[in-house]
Symmetry: C2
Subunit: 333 residues, 2 copies
């Protein structure tokens, strides 16, 4: 693949990060040049019992309202997906409200998790269903011909759950607890205390299942299964921001081989994202100081990855274009 | 415009740099929300007599060979333009070879500049023709309905010309002389000496015309006229890398008002680009360590600017989507 890139009509290495992306993709796809055809973004939605502890700016109901917004095409993820050629799939992994719209991929395992400050977020059986659902969704994505999948999240309270999962790995509370959608200083301090106390109560964690069941979320467990499922099908997965990357971190701790198939779409402004990306050794494709979720950063990064693949596949080589280092131009006329 | 952005269904400011871009564009276009429709990239090609001094890796003939490659659709700029919805225009401002293809916009003022190490690069009359050509091309772009223009360059030797122009403004030689397409250390030191000596011989520079005529290039002068012409039509111009930005720097020194209409598509890896961008106070949209030219970085940045505009125009507002901070979700069903 490096040889292929070096034969294209440009100075060697002059496309910088785009060449690195094309190279990584060729390795993942085991083909030269790589090729991305159908693309999809999966937005995994779920509610979180932990919101009872007053750690969010928006009420729990906004999760379902935003799912409706996704279905109507009015959210940022819809606009970006349309412009960048991604199909949008919205998965209900456990939104509190009943979502009757048939366009929702119904993988609901409960009406939101339980409050993990007081009890386990979910049962072992619910966890297993989420992991299975994720693997099945990945298999379906592959069957439908998607060669690139962007992964996004929607769930009021999900930065708290992500922080708890990472605190369970020993990340410091200050590094992983964020203001979420814009909470004030007092609420931030309260959120840190809630996460810290919750993790203390549930720990020590015996394994990834114990961690996910104790302080995880339905969409997180589904994303873990999804990421592992995509890896088993050798399909690259573009990560969005902090919650998605926290799920990827859990998946990576269950199966180190997933890392080859993961691309970091962007660096989110959410506190903690850079720490977890760094621990996995992933470099974000762009840094636009976004903090929206929904898969918006994943689509932008995924679109640039697609451009990198297209360039590597469609540019002329020096030979085919008759561009040389020494030939007289007259020969070409 | 800020109010419009804050009413969209997302936490305030959560789209980060994309919101900043949409805001700047709204100011330039004097409309809320901004709108980008037809897009074009103009690749300004020209040859440079200074290559006689042995400061490049590729021979002069490659300029024309690459123009042919652009017309055949085989270059990086073609692939990116096709994927990002930009029409490609190739302008011959002064390529050495005779280009007979009718698709070339023929604005040739000579078969390459003279060697500015030994004499003036061009005559005052040639300079005036270039500036006029640039203004006319800008007017034509607007007449053809383009609302966003990316500006790229092609010309073996053009990083040497760009460095000489900037050295004429007092930028240090070490800051603005680059390895170009990959010259070795000895050639780099020679290139620095050539630029330094040439600028010393021609200076002091009385004004921008004197500078451009002495150590400029046909495509540089055409780009200066083009940038000023786009500004007069209130059309945003996305800059590519070092040569294009050096031309923009000259234009900015002729007319400070151009700055409002300039966007830096990317940060090039070419030595000097960050210095000249910094002096103009422009922040690059992306940094992919690219160093290709042709408008490749301008298209990527321009495409992201288009996405920012689309998001701001097409997302639902909280009211229209029924998303709220406190309403019970049941009301929406």
């Amino acid at each position: 693949m490096q040889q292929h890139l070096d034969n294209l009509t440009k100075p060697i290495g002059s496309l910088g990060a785009l060449e690195d992306l094309a190279l990584r993709l060729a390795v993942v796809q085991e083909r030269v040049p790589p090729k991305i055809e159908k693309r999809a973004v999966y937005v995994m939605a779920g509610d979180h019992g932990i919101v009872e502890e007053g750690i969010t700016l928006y009420p729990r109901e906004v999760t379902a309202q935003m799912v409706v917004n996704f279905l109507r095409g009015g959210a940022a993820v819809n606009v970006l997906a349309a412009k960048c050629g991604f199909d949008v799939f919205v998965v209900d992994t456990g939104v509190s409200a009943t979502l009757r719209d048939k366009r929702v991929l119904a993988r609901k395992v409960g009406p939101g998790t339980r409050n993990f400050f007081r009890e386990d977020a979910m049962s072992e059986e619910q966890l297993e269903r989420c992991l299975d659902n994720g693997r099945e969704l990945a298999a379906e994505a592959v069957e439908e011909g998607y060669s690139l999948v962007a992964l996004g999240d929607m769930g009021i309270g999900n930065t708290t759950t992500a922080a708890a999962l990472l605190a369970g790995f020993g990340f410091s509370i200050d590094d992983v607890v964020d203001r979420g959608t814009g909470i004030d200083e007092a609420t931030l301090q309260h959120k840190k205390w809630v996460v810290s106390e919750a993790v203390r109560k549930h720990s020590p964690f015996r394994d990834m299942h114990h961690l996910l069941r104790s302080v995880g979320g339905f969409e997180f467990a589904t994303m873990v299964g999804f990421i592992i499922g995509l890896k088993s099908k050798k399909i690259p997965c573009i990560l969005d921001g902090f919650p998605v990357t926290a799920a990827a971190f859990v998946a990576w701790n269950m199966d180190r081989a997933v890392i080859d198939y993961l691309f970091a779409g962007h660096l989110s402004k959410v506190q903690g994202h850079e720490h977890v990306l760094g621990r996995m050794g992933l470099s974000p494709i762009v840094d636009f100081e976004m903090r929206l979720g929904e898969g918006t950063g994943a689509i932008i990064g995924g679109h640039l990855l697609s451009l990198a693949a297209a360039i590597s596949a469609e540019m002329a080589s020096f030979d085919s274009a008759g561009v040389s280092r020494s030939t007289d131009i007259e020969e070409n006329y």
